[in-house]
Amino acid sequence: YRQVQAPTETVTAPGKVRVAVLFDVGGRGDLSFNDMAALGAEKAKRDLGVEVEYNTPKSLAHMVPLLEELSRGGKYDLLILVGFLWVDALNKTADKFPKQKYALIDASTGVRRDNVAEFVFKEQEGAAVVGVLAAGMAREVQRELGESGPIKVGAVAGMSIPPLWRFHIGYLFGVKYFEKKTGERVEFYWTYTGKFDDPALGYSAAWTFLGQGVKVLYGLAGLTHVGMFNAVIDWNERGGGRALAIGQDASQEWFNPKYIPLSGSKRVDVAAYKAIEMVVKGAWRGGLVVLGYAEGGVGVWDLEGVKYFAQIAYETGQLKGLTPDDIVRIVKDARGKYVKSDVEAIAKELEGLIVTGKIVFKEPASEEEYLSIIRELEKGNLNAALAKGSIG
């Protein structure tokens, strides 16, 4: 299967381009898309020599006035808006300031404007591949323990919002795809913790799943799933059990490479970087940019990516005791051990279908539609999740 590449170097351009990154409520520190956006902007700062400033609105209430003020000030060549909460503020502001450029990440306003570039991700595509791999990893853990019975995989999610619906659909799709291909039964566990910032809750939710025999847990809840990681680590080291965790957005393997051998990627950093790059290079184009598997926007982090993030963690002192190379080695071993070739083949096959556009996932437009897709998927009707193509 094709893995996402680590961010690679690009041309260094001169110019005093000024960028402000406006985060979602809560801002940096979510270890998820806000942090990834900052990462992309920081890279642009280094590579493209732009000036970057950051801002975190205290609540949604501040978004409109804040955006208006910054737009009116005209100080920034580009305003990067991270997260779907900005949609409304942007709709209210963008037309008033046609000269101001905006990049909206992880959401779309539904309106095409020349001064707005929108980046959305096909979370389903990445999550589907993760689903296959998760099921395969769970199977190996179960074999290792000598347990029989259905394979159990799960996820600890944040709130029930559209990006997470897409993750859910993709992940479940992957699991069912695995089931179909291998004929092995997989039980699927999913929970919304309702919060993105409560790691203790993530721990207890994960622990509950582990107690039900879930072997692989996918973290989709920002800070909350940090608690899930810890639960998995505890389960292995002190609970006498064996289980693995999967990270998301950034490569999170370095948290604990032994038990977190895999992370899904969502390249918010690429989106931020691309937006800045368009401005710097004078190649601005408004409109929607869809970052799917084929575009490298979503997927699974490769070892380079693992190393890249381990390196960052190492440099900021977050990673101690192990070097980035150690991380890569351990991850490699773990992947070798838990991702068997038959599973890898299934993942590759699915990836192929996705990348070539043979299958295209539906975009649920409402919670009802989302729920009905999930219901169908649970029954094994894989095609219910697809807008195009089908699984034979």
Binding site: A20, S59, L60, G110, S160, P364, E367
Partner: protein
């Protein structure tokens, strides 16, 4: 002690002195924290203090709903009831505003949102009066319950056809000026209720002594229920105004309204638990928060520095006696 002649005069200016001293303490607190953590303290503090007042319309539109939230906290507080349930009341108020607006259009939501809030306030009151449940317990539990229930309702019944995660938006917004007028009118109304009406009288008697309340011919259950409902009305209005002046919609993460109740407690207390203090205190807090935004943008310092300042200010306000001790030492 104090100079005898100036004593009654001093008494009158004390609240003002105390508030000033608290502001200064907050500034010093922010100064120390920013200096210790390595940010230019002068630049940080002047940014936080001043930039909030740069855009009055912005400032007002944020302050007005907060004022309502502060009032929602204050009214029951005057009866000795601790309404931490404003948060949840604001959720249902916002929900009602958006939902009713989608059905009927302005002005009806502004009437029904407070009713929704009142229902929650009333429920907290009922639990206290008839089941002996401490209002702090029920409020904390109800806030989260309502958070998830309202989220559920939005995601299930109120989604926007275009932008899925958003609810249907309200059909018109209020300008900062309109909002300010509403806030002023409600402040006057609350002040009048508290000080000119029999209801306010009984509320304050209960706050002074529940025994005296019964003696004066009212009953604790009646005042509890009305004060909590009135708090709920104001809490519901806070949520509705947040939608009408600031966001225009609510989303499943409730981020348009989230936290307004808790900030309202701070604003109510900084406003010395008086109706007339609520608006200035809300403006001050809002200005500090906006200043925190600027701080991050300009200096790259965490905006939470503003929280530290608000907290230190409250701490200073909590102990007026400290000021009295200090002044008696200084004056001899």
């Amino acid at each position: 002690m104090m100079l005898a002649m100036g004593e009654s005069g001093l008494r009158k200016v004390y609240p003002v002195l105390e508030s000033l001293a608290a502001l200064i303490a907050g500034i010093i607190g922010g100064f120390i924290v920013s200096a210790v953590l390595g940010y230019d303290p002068f630049a940080s503090i002047s940014l936080i203090l001043l930039s909030g007042f740069g855009n009055i319309e912005y400032l007002l539109s944020i302050s007005v709903p907060l004022t309502l939230s502060a009032l929602a906290f204050i009214v029951p507080l005057r009866a000795g009831l601790f309404n931490i349930g404003v948060e949840g009341q604001a959720y249902v108020g916002a929900l009602a505003a958006v939902y009713v607006s989608s059905l009927t259009g302005f002005p009806l939501p502004i009437i029904l949102a407070p009713l929704a809030g009142a229902l929650i306030g009333f429920l907290i009151g009922v639990l206290r009066v008839y089941r002996g449940v401490n209002e702090v317990v029920s409020s904390i539990m109800l806030n989260w319950t309502l958070f998830y229930t309202v989220s559920f309702t939005i995601s299930r019944y109120l989604r926007d056809p275009v932008i899925v995660h958003q609810s249907v938006r309200v059909d018109r917004m209020l300008s900062a000026l309109e909002a300010l007028l509403i806030a002023l009118a409600i402040t006057i109304a609350v002040h009048t209720i508290l000080y000119r009406t029999t209801l306010g009288y009984y509320i304050r008697v209960m706050g002074s002594s529940p025994e005296a309340l019964k003696y004066s011919g009212s009953s604790e259950s009646r005042v509890t229920l009305t004060a909590m409902s009135l708090g709920g009305v104001l809490g519901g209005l806070a949520g509705a105004l947040q939608v009408y002046t600031v966001s225009g919609f609510i989303d499943v993460t409730m981020s348009a309204v989230f936290g307004i109740g808790f900030m309202g407690i701070a604003a109510g207390l900084i406003g010395r638990a008086t109706a007339v203090g609520a608006l200035p205190a809300s403006i001050l807090i809002s200005a500090l928060i906006i200043g925190g935004h600027k701080l991050e943008l300009v200096l790259g310092a965490p905006p939470e520095l503003a929280d530290v300042m608000i907290g230190v200010m409250m701490l200073a306000l909590s102990a007026p006696y400290a000021l009295r001790l200090l002044s008696s030492k200084v004056l001899g």
